[in-house]
């Protein structure tokens, strides 16, 4: 280790007596919904204008979920799981490919309204911090704004979908750091 390497911060700093959901990193453990979860992978999204958000692949042993954390004046935390895009809307991939995202989606007897369309870059920090991939994301919220449908386009014709629910940051508790 060189002299100046000591001053490099590759880890975000945290207050050990007051761990926050924004402090999460790989290997960190926390409690949610009476279960213990561990962060397995860390994803970073660059939405431009120096605005970044994070997503964590988390596992409780029996289940795998994704926890997205966006700090835009106030924290927007979403716990989601992958879903089949055609299960949500049969024609969705074609509509998205034609740059015609629907203004609303009917799914599971609920209506989700298009909230935003955001082009950006994705990086799986667990694997490499330099490998950025382009994507477009469409976020749909239900009327109460507590459930989310996210659609993503990767490359020309690759589409993904996930279903999530908005949770309060305090619901993520007992956060423990990893080495």
């Amino acid at each position: 280790m060189g002299l100046f390497d000591r001053f490099k911060k590759d880890k975000r700093e945290y207050d050990v007596t007051d761990m926050q959901v924004t402090d999460l990193d790989r290997g960190f453990v926390f409690e949610y919904d009476l279960k213990t979860w561990q962060v397995q992978e860390v994803y970073k999204y660059d939405w431009g204008d120096h605005f970044f958000s994070y997503e964590y692949k988390i596992s409780s042993g029996a289940e795998t979920r994704f926890l997205s954390v966006e700090d835009d004046d106030e924290l927007f935390v979403v716990l989601s799981q992958k879903s089949n895009i055609r299960k949500i809307g049969e024609d969705l991939p074609e509509l998205l490919a034609d740059e015609k995202p629907p203004k609303k989606i009917e799914y599971d007897n609920k209506t989700f309204f298009l909230e935003e369309e955001a082009p950006g870059y994705f990086c799986n920090e667990t694997k490499s911090k330099d490998n950025w991939v382009e994507l477009i994301s469409w976020t749909y919220l239900n009327e109460d704004e507590d459930e989310v449908v996210t659609l993503e386009q990767w490359g020309e014709r690759e589409f993904e979908a996930s279903l999530g629910k908005v949770i309060k940051p305090f619901e993520i508790s007992n956060i423990l750091p990893a080495e």
Binding site: V16, T17, M19, G27, F28, V29, T36, W37, Q38, S59, S60, G61, A62, L176, P177, A178, E179
Partner: protein
């Protein structure tokens, strides 16, 4: 006690006094809290590690339970196939026995993983108790530090006020007023002295004037008349 021992003791006492002066209780408490937070960080990391092992064991237990159920289903299917005539009974028995043996292995593995989960849960409870103790100590010291800082601020402010109240030195306002008062006193004394000197140096004429100044003018006129009368005699 020899002279050198006494000298050494004096030196030792002076050194301690000098070090005591250097010690800042606030900075020392802050450093203490930082050290405790480092310990807490390590303990939390250890707890995260044990919890992660518990998650892994729980996953293994679940997977092995599912495997056991799967092998049982396969054994049932093999027997059913043999009953239908799709498989030779001997072969079905052999494969079903093998499947049941694997089911047993999976059940044992699940039980082992479950027992590990319980051990980890015990460790987690113990570590959590230590961590709670450490957190409570840190919180106690942080509160102490807040009080210490407040007391320090009050003490500094009080000391400043007291100093300005008691420390009437040559530069203070009160001293300047005192000096001015002295000066005025001196000037008044000088003025009085000059007055006295002036009185002493009066000429005879002055004296006459002094005596006559209060006399009514008529008296002077009478004296003049008397004088004129004398001259005419």
């Amino acid at each position: 006690m020899g002279i050198f021992n006494r000298l050494f003791k004096v030196g030792e006492a002076e050194a301690h006094a000098a070090i005591n002066k250097l010690e800042d209780p606030i900075k020392m408490t802050e450093q203490g809290i930082r050290d405790m937070k480092k310990d807490l960080d390590k303990s939390l990391q250890a707890l995260a590690e044990v919890k992660s092992l518990a998650i892994r064991s729980r996953r293994e237990a679940n997977e092995n339970k599912e495997k056991a159920e799967n092998y049982e289903q396969k054994a049932i299917l093999l027997i059913k196939k043999a009953e239908k005539g799709d498989l030779k009974p001997d072969e079905a028995d052999r494969l079903a026995t093998e499947a049941l043996s694997r089911k047993e292995e999976s059940i044992n593995a699940a039980a082992r993983a479950q027992s590990e989960v319980e051990k980890f849960d015990d460790n987690i409870a113990k570590l959590q108790a230590n961590i709670n103790k450490l957190k409570s100590q840190i919180s106690h010291y942080e509160n102490e530090l807040k009080t210490l800082k407040a007391r320090d601020r009050v003490s500094k402010a009080t000391s400043k006020i007291n100093k300005s109240m008691s420390n009437i030195d040559s530069s203070s306002t009160v001293a300047r007023l005192e000096r001015m008062k002295e000066k005025v006193d001196q000037q008044e004394a000088m003025a009085e002295a000059y007055g006295e000197i002036a009185n002493e140096s009066k000429s005879v004429d002055d004296e006459i004037d002094d005596v006559l100044k209060d006399e009514p003018k008529s008296k002077a006129s009478d004296a003049l008349a008397d004088l004129k009368a004398k001259l005419n005699k």
